[in-house]
């Protein structure tokens, strides 16, 4: 492998990886907190309606919210306990969201442990029919765990109008600091592979491509060895992709591993591709083979401002505050708590925010990091240096869009294809004038949606 033939896309940036805080930390279970707040909307699509009431007794794994809508995913209780309330809890993006608040019965329920030891090379995905797999995936409430949270059933279900040819597995984890998918791929290799094969069977694809960034050579090697046990007919290949942000963006990953470009404004299935995150595949395997709903996930707690960084197997609905306490608390220098990675994550102010199915990381940044980076550095005029244009992985003109939004010209922003922006943050990262380009674009998209009365 030379420098020139590595699978990659045009544009992007190389932020410091900072993976050393947690990449060597094995996945660790956490004790159950006193209270869990399980949000009823942890996915894209219709929010769930609660199907339990106040003071109801719930058991671990019991469904507590569901919806009849096609694009939706039910939610389950991660532990046994009593429903205290159905109330609004803080949400990093939409402000507030409805959640089922459960007082955990810590005597009755044990913290759940990973089930990876139940998968090995003898796994046979053909024990289940496509319908069985689809139902199990839907019933388990599985959504894309990489961040977007799109219901997985909708993605992998056979769809005659959009037949799928290739399944791309996203093992890039291009965000700095985060290592949850990396640890899942290292420790739960067989479970992930089982999920991959189940998803491939369901989607009816002829090829599977697992894309892993080449800064994780051990994960690449493990998967290369593991896929050798699969029958050739399944055609699974592991592809080492160049370490670059945002390699894990699905449009970028498709370009890197298949050389194909997803048309702007449309989704991968329109060109016969289905993309799943590695952790999602592990959840599929657990749901189908063991009947386990998605109630726990691996979260990287990382950064210089947390006492004990690590990769934790966390019940969904656990508050950030509880997790911080379990990790030894914040250091004196803590200045920013980011739900997610530093490039696309949301800075949160309310530590009672619950973790959801899509929360892959909590990044704690110090005052020094925040000050050095962007905060407090004065914004200066755009000098049209073009760094954002060079960095944009979608080949947009970020500075033009940002200026159009700033001037209130949404039609001009649309002419510069504001809707094609994937909000990766590369433009803001490279801007020497310290302009919040991504922030302006996000604002513009929101204003546009409001103008079109979509929300």
């Amino acid at each position: 492998m030379g420098i020139f033939n590595r699978a990659t896309f045009a544009g992007g940036i190389h932020p410091p990886e900072n993976k050393e805080f947690t990449q060597a930390c094995p996945i660790e279970s956490v004790p159950l907190p006193k209270q869990l707040a399980v949000p009823l909307s942890q996915h894209l699509g219709a929010p769930c309606k609660p199907i339990v009431g106040k003071k109801d007794v719930v058991s671990a794994g019991q469904m507590i919210g569901s919806s009849d809508a096609f694009v939706s995913a039910p939610v389950h209780s991660p532990a046994s306990g009593i429903v205290r309330d159905i109330a609004l809890v803080p949400h990093p993006v939409i402000g507030r969201t409805l959640a089922v608040i459960i007082d955990v019965d810590r005597e009755k329920s044990e913290p759940k442990r990973p089930r990876c030891e139940q998968f090995d090379d003898s796994f046979n995905p053909h024990q289940w029919t496509v319908e069985q797999i689809c139902t199990a995936v839907h019933q388990a409430g599985i959504v894309g765990m990489g961040g977007a949270g799109f219901p997985t059933r909708v993605k992998i279900e056979p769809n005659p109008s959009m037949p799928k040819e290739v399944l791309v597995i996203n093992g890039c984890e291009c965000e700095p600091f985060i290592t949850c998918d990396y640890r899942v791929m290292l420790e739960w290799t067989w479970q992930v592979l089982a999920g991959v094969r189940l998803a491939a069977k369901t989607a009816g694809v002829s090829r599977v491509r697992i894309g892993i960034e080449d800064n994780k050579p051990d994960a690449i090697e493990l998967f290369r060895q593991a896929v050798k046990t699969c029958p050739d007919s399944e055609d699974i290949q592991v592809i080492a992709v160049k370490t670059k942000y945002p390699q894990g963006g699905e449009r970028q990953l498709i370009k890197s591993v298949l050389g194909k470009t997803v048309p702007s404004g449309s989704i991968p299935p329109t060109i016969g591709i289905c993309v799943l995150n590695a952790a999602t595949c592990a959840a599929i395997a657990e749901a189908v083979a063991l009947g386990q709903p998605l109630t726990h996930r691996v979260v990287s707690v990382t950064g210089r401002a947390i006492a004990r960084p690590g990769n934790y197997y966390v019940p969904i609905g656990m508050s950030v505050q509880d997790l911080i306490e379990h990790c030894g608390g914040l250091t004196e220098t803590a200045a920013k708590v980011v739900l997610g990675g530093p490039m696309m994550g949301c800075a949160i102010a309310d530590m009672s925010t619950p973790l959801t199915k899509t929360s892959g990381a909590l990044t704690f940044l110090t005052r020094k990091e925040v000050t050095e980076a962007r905060f407090r550095r004065r914004q200066t005029p755009c000098i049209r240096c073009g760094r954002c244009v060079m960095a944009c992985p979608e080949k947009l003109n970020p500075t033009r869009i940002a200026h159009a939004v700033k001037a209130g010209k949404l039609d001009l922003a649309q002419q510069y294809y504001i809707t094609a922006c994937i909000e990766c943050g590369c433009c803001s990262y490279v801007c020497p004038a310290n302009i919040e380009i991504t922030g302006y674009i996000k604002t513009g998209k929101l204003l546009l949606a409001r103008a079109q009365k979509k929300i």
């Binding site: 080949k395 947009l396 294809y417 490279v430």
Partner: protein
């Protein structure tokens, strides 16, 4: 604990790069040329550069005061304008002309249009055009580089004195009129490259400019597109002329090494504010500058074309930007 937590939009990390650092890099890139002009024109060069920079800084400071804006001297952009303007002035220019040029560049060309990032024309070049129009004779008096008087006799020309000298480009203009053989003038290319010929303060040594340009490329302060487009297109245009009439037009090497070509390619045309944003736009802009320089040199009345070439292409920048709109990676969406 909560009171100390910061909330802001993503991304939460950034490259440790500021406008100030970008401008500082340009100044560092200009350092070899400044050193060369100091070597060739001694203290006169240093004072001229200092006066120009002082004029620019004073203009910026006064304008900020008038516009009630925060002080922006720290971003160093005015200093960059000052140095580039000074390097494009002839060595014998009176210091008050340099000062007027500095003030004009910032106040009229930059601040009146809205300050950093909003000017249409390159401040240094527009100011130089103003000085040329206002003080024609002062702006075309070329002093011999110090210590190089001995070389004067080589061309055996009559109209040279001990203190002034025609520049290589002026020689090539004379070659056009058949006053001197073009072949002889073409031999000046090598000495022009190293800087042993007359010219503006900063144009004398193409080698020094090239070193600074390579530094900017290495620091990624500029991209290769504009310098490559300027040099390739100018080289091509000059070669065509030279192949057609080798006894009238001088060799393309002299065109590349002489005059402000290198200063233009690496430091003037690459001014991000007045150049197009997109890669395609940069190629077009650079090619336009290169071709116009040679057209003016070969067919125009002036011996040097850098200034007007850059100003003309600056005027085209908005149009180029509009024509070279980027197509998103996935093609145009159906909005």
């Amino acid at each position: 604990m909560l009171s100390k937590i910061t909330v802001s939009p993503a991304p939460h990390i950034g490259q440790p790069l500021s406008t100030q650092r970008v401008m500082l890099d340009v100044l560092i890139g200009l350092a070899p040329a400044v050193a060369a002009s100091w070597y060739f024109f001694r203290w006169y060069a240093v004072t001229a550069i200092a006066v120009c920079v002082a004029g620019c800084l004073a203009g910026e400071w006064a304008c900020n005061l008038l516009r009630r804006r925060p002080n922006s001297l720290g971003d160093l952009s005015a200093a960059v304008t000052g140095v580039i303007l000074a390097l494009s002035l002839p060595p014998a220019v009176p210091l008050w002309v340099a000062a007027v040029g500095g003030v004009f560049a910032i106040v009229i060309v930059k601040m009146v249009f809205g300050g950093l990032g909003s000017n249409i024309f390159n401040p240094a070049m527009a100011s130089r055009a103003f000085l040329t129009a206002s003080f024609g004779v002062l702006m075309t008096t070329w002093t011999v580089p110090a210590g190089l008087d001995a070389k004067m006799g080589q061309m055996a020309m009559t109209n040279t004195s001990a203190t002034t000298q025609a520049t290589p480009l002026a020689w090539s203009k004379m070659a056009l009129k058949g006053q001197v053989p073009a072949k002889e003038v073409s031999k000046l290319a090598i000495s022009s490259f190293w800087g042993q010929e007359g010219g503006c303060l900063g144009e004398t040594s193409a080698a020094a400019l090239l070193i600074g340009g390579l530094y900017l490329l290495a620091r990624r302060t500029i991209t290769l597109h504009i310098p490559a487009a300027v040099i390739l297109s100018a080289g091509a245009a000059a070669t065509i002329g030279w192949l057609i009439k080798p006894d009238v037009y001088v060799s393309p090497w002299l065109h590349l090494a002489g005059g402000g070509m290198m200063l233009c390619a690496f430091f003037i045309a690459t001014d991000p504010v007045t150049a197009p944003l997109t890669t395609m736009g940069k190629w077009i802009f650079g090619a336009g500058v290169g071709i116009l320089i040679i057209l003016i040199r070969l067919l125009g009345e002036y011996p040097e074309g850098v200034m007007y070439a850059v100003l003309i292409m600056n005027a085209f920048t908005p149009l180029i930007d509009r024509c070279c709109r980027l197509v998103p990676a996935g093609g145009k969406p159906n909005v």
